[in-house]
C-alpha cells in the first residue's frame, strides 16, 4: 500500500506542473493560446459534439479532429491522452449495451451480416464518452492544474472557490503523507499480520482526520504569519487576451458549427453516389 501512496503522490506533483504526456518543450517556443480561450472552445466543442443525434455515428467521428489537432498544437502525445480516456469505458459500455438489446431494428447489411440500430447507438455512446474525456484531459494536461485555476479565476469564478480548488489539491498530498505515515507505523508493528481488523477502521479514519487537520492548522498559521489572508493572490504579470486568441475562438466555433449543421459526411456520400 505504501508503494501505491508514493505513486499517487508523484502523480499529483506531475498534474500540478502539467508534465504528463508532454513532449519536450517545443510548445514553449510556439505562441501559446490563452487558457481561457481554450477552456471556452472546449466547452463549445462538448455542447456541439454531444448534441449530435445518437444514431449518427459517422457525423460524430469527424469530431475526433478537435482532440487530435489540439494535442498536436499543445505538444501533448495524443496516444497518451487516448489511452487515458479508456477509463471512461467501463461506465458507459455497460449502459450502452442495453441499446443493442432494445433497438434491434436493422439499418444496413455488410456482406450478409445485418447491423441493427442498437449497435450504431452503442458505438456512438462509446465515441461520445471517449471524445469528451479527451477534450477535458487535454485542457488540463497541456498547462497544468495551477494555470487552469488561474484561468478560471480570470474567467470570473469567485476567488473563494478557486482558492478552495488549489487548497484541496495541495492538502491532498498532505493527507496522503499522513496516511503513508499511519501505514508505515502499522507495518512496522504488525509483524506480517496483513489485514487491519474491521473494528479498527473507524479509529484509523478518525485518527487520520484529526492528524491531518492538526497539521493543516500549523501550515495555515505559518501562511497567515507570512501575509496570507484566506485568498490566493492574483497574478502580477498576466498574459493579456490577444488577437490570436480571438481568432482561435472564432475559427473553432465556425468550424464546429459548419461540421454540425451542414452534415459533410452525407454530402460527400451523395456526391460519390452522383459520380
Amino acid at each position: 500500500m505504501s508503494e501505491q501512496l508514493h505513486r499517487m503522490l508523484a502523480r499529483l506533483a506531475n498534474f500540478e506542473s502539467g508534465a504528463i504526456g508532454n513532449q519536450n518543450d517545443t510548445r514553449k517556443q510556439a505562441p501559446r493560446i490563452d487558457l481561457r480561450a481554450r477552456a471556452i472552445v472546449s466547452l463549445i466543442y462538448l455542447i456541439i459534439m454531444l448534441s449530435v443525434p445518437i444514431n449518427r455515428l459517422s457525423e460524430l467521428l469527424i469530431f475526433a479532429a478537435f482532440p487530435i489537432i489540439t494535442a498536436a498544437q499543445t505538444g501533448v502525445r495524443y496516444g497518451c491522452i487516448a489511452r487515458q480516456s479508456l477509463i471512461a469505458l467501463p461506465f458507459v459500455a455497460v449502459i450502452g449495451v442495453f441499446n443493442i438489446f432494445y433497438n434491434r431494428e436493422p439499418i444496413f447489411a455488410i456482406g450478409g451480416v445485418i447491423i441493427a440500430v442498437g449497435w450504431i447507438e452503442f458505438f456512438s455512446i462509446i465515441v461520445r464518452a471517449m471524445l469528451s474525456v479527451q477534450a477535458l484531459l487535454l485542457l488540463v494536461r497541456a498547462e497544468g492544474y495551477n494555470a487552469l485555476c488561474r484561468a478560471l479565476r480570470r474567467l470570473g469564478l469567485p476567488s473563494v472557490f478557486t482558492t478552495q480548488l488549489l487548497m484541496l489539491y495541495r492538502y491532498t498530498s498532505l493527507l496522503l503523507e499522513q496516511l503513508l505515515s499511519l501505514v508505515r507505523a502499522r507495518q512496522a508493528r504488525s509483524f506480517g499480520r496483513r489485514a487491519l481488523p474491521v473494528r479498527d477502521w473507524g479509529a484509523v479514519i478518525g485518527e487520520l482526520t484529526v492528524r491531518t487537520v492538526d497539521r493543516s492548522e500549523r501550515i495555515s498559521q505559518a501562511m497567515w504569519a507570512r501575509g496570507f489572508r484566506g485568498r490566493m493572490p492574483d497574478e502580477q504579470q498576466v498574459q493579456r487576451w490577444q488577437w490570436r486568441d480571438t481568432i482561435y475562438l472564432t475559427a473553432w466555433c465556425l468550424v464546429l458549427s459548419v461540421i454540425r449543421f451542414t452534415h459533410p459526411v452525407e454530402r460527400i456520400v451523395t456526391l460519390f453516389n452522383k459520380l
Binding site: V94, F98, L175, G202, T209
Partner: protein
C-alpha cells in the same frame, strides 16, 4: 454516482448547470461573509472562521481520497462510491460543505475525467446539493444536538447518509431518462441504482459516524457547533419520515419488483400460469380508465412508488396524530 457526458443531453446540461451555478454563487457569498468577519489582529486560535480555509481544504482532500475508491455499477453508466456530504456539512456547515464538495467534483472532473464537464451541473446537484443542502438540514440537523449520545450521532449519520445517497441515485435516474440517450427502461434503471446506493449509504453513514466520533472526542471545537441547538420536536419527526420513507421504500420496492406479491403469486399457482379470463364489462373498463387518469403514478414503478407511498403513509399517520391530540 458520477454521471458521464456521453449520457447527457444539452437541455439537461443547461438546466442542471443553471441550478449548480446559482447555488455556487449563493454558497460563495455565504462563505465570504463568514471569512470577512475576521480581523488581522485577532489571534488565530480565537476565531473559528479563520480556520475555515484550511479546514475546507483538508476535509475536501479527505472526501476526494475517499471517493477514489469507486466501482462501476452494472448497467447504469454510473460509479458507486461514498459522497461525504453529511460529514462535510456537519463540520463546515451546509454552504461551506456544499462548496467543498463542489470543488471535489470539479477536481475529479478536471484531473481524472471522472464525470464530464457537461455532466458537472448534474453531479453537483445530485451529490453536493442534495446531501449538504437537503439531507443535512432536513434529516441530520434535527436528529442531533450537543448533548446527544454517541449512538444517536451515529444513527443520525447513517439515516442522513442513506437519505442523501438514495435521493442522489434517484436524481441520476431522472436526469439520465430525461436525456433520452440510453434505451434502458426506467423501472430497471432505478432497480439497479437505488438498492446499491442504500448499501453505500449505510457504509458511508458508518464512516461518517466514525469520523464524527473521533472529532467529538479529540477536537469537539471542529464540529459546526453553532448549528446543533436543541431540535424542535416537529422537525425531528419530519426528518424521521423522510429517512424512513427513502430507506423503507427502496427495500420494499426492490423486494416487490423481483418477486410477485402474495396475491399475484397465489393467483399464478391456482391458475397454473394461465391468464385469468377477461371478463371486461364496460364498468370494469370505465373504472380502470378512471384509475389510470387519477392515479399519481399510473405506470407505477415499484421503488419510486414505495418511497412516495411510505412517505405519504407516515405523513398521514403523523397528521392524524396531531389532529387527535388537538381534540
Amino acid at each position: 454516482m458520477h454521471m458521464s457526458d456521453a449520457l447527457i443531453s444539452p437541455s439537461v446540461f443547461a438546466a442542471t448547470s443553471a441550478i449548480a451555478i446559482a447555488l455556487v454563487g449563493i454558497a460563495t457569498r455565504q462563505v465570504s461573509r463568514t471569512t470577512r468577519k475576521r480581523s488581522i489582529d485577532t489571534p488565530i486560535e480565537e476565531v473559528r472562521e479563520q480556520r475555515i480555509v484550511p479546514l475546507m481544504g483538508v476535509m475536501g482532500a479527505l472526501i476526494f481520497a475517499a471517493q477514489m475508491l469507486n466501482f462501476a455499477i452494472p448497467a447504469t453508466g454510473s460509479s458507486g462510491h461514498i459522497v461525504g456530504g453529511i460529514l462535510l456539512a456537519a463540520i463546515l456547515g451546509p454552504w461551506a460543505g456544499f462548496l467543498t464538495l463542489t470543488s471535489v467534483i470539479v477536481v475529479q472532473c478536471l484531473l481524472f475525467a471522472d464525470g464530464g464537464l457537461m455532466a458537472l451541473g448534474c453531479n453537483v446537484v445530485n451529490m453536493a446539493a442534495l446531501s449538504c443542502l437537503v439531507a443535512y438540514p432536513l434529516v441530520f440537523k434535527p436528529l442531533v444536538h450537543h448533548s446527544s449520545s454517541a449512538l444517536r450521532w451515529g444513527a443520525a449519520s447513517i439515516a442522513a447518509s442513506i437519505t442523501a445517497l438514495t435521493m442522489g441515485a434517484l436524481a441520476v435516474t431522472i436526469e439520465t431518462e430525461m436525456s433520452g440517450i440510453t434505451a434502458l427502461p426506467y423501472s430497471r434503471f432505478i432497480l439497479f441504482m437505488l438498492p446499491i446506493h442504500l448499501l453505500i449509504g449505510l457504509g458511508e453513514g458508518l464512516a461518517t459516524a466514525a469520523v464524527i466520533a473521533a472529532l467529538r472526542r479529540y477536537r469537539p471545537d471542529l464540529l459546526h457547533d453553532a448549528e446543533y441547538s436543541e431540535p424542535k420536536r416537529r422537525s425531528f419527526i419530519f426528518a424521521a419520515i423522510i429517512a424512513l420513507a427513502l430507506i423503507g421504500g427502496t427495500i420494499a420496492g426492490s423486494i416487490a419488483s423481483t418477486d410477485p406479491d402474495g396475491l399475484e403469486w397465489s393467483i399464478e399457482r391456482t391458475t397454473e400460469g394461465k391468464e385469468l379470463a377477461q371478463h371486461q364489462s364496460t364498468m370494469h373498463q370505465g373504472a380502470a380508465e378512471t384509475q389510470q387518469t387519477i392515479a399519481l403514478l399510473p405506470d407505477y414503478n415499484t421503488t419510486l412508488s414505495g418511497i412516495i407511498g411510505i412517505g405519504a403513509t407516515l405523513a398521514v399517520i403523523y397528521s392524524l396524530s396531531l389532529l387527535l391530540r388537538r381534540q
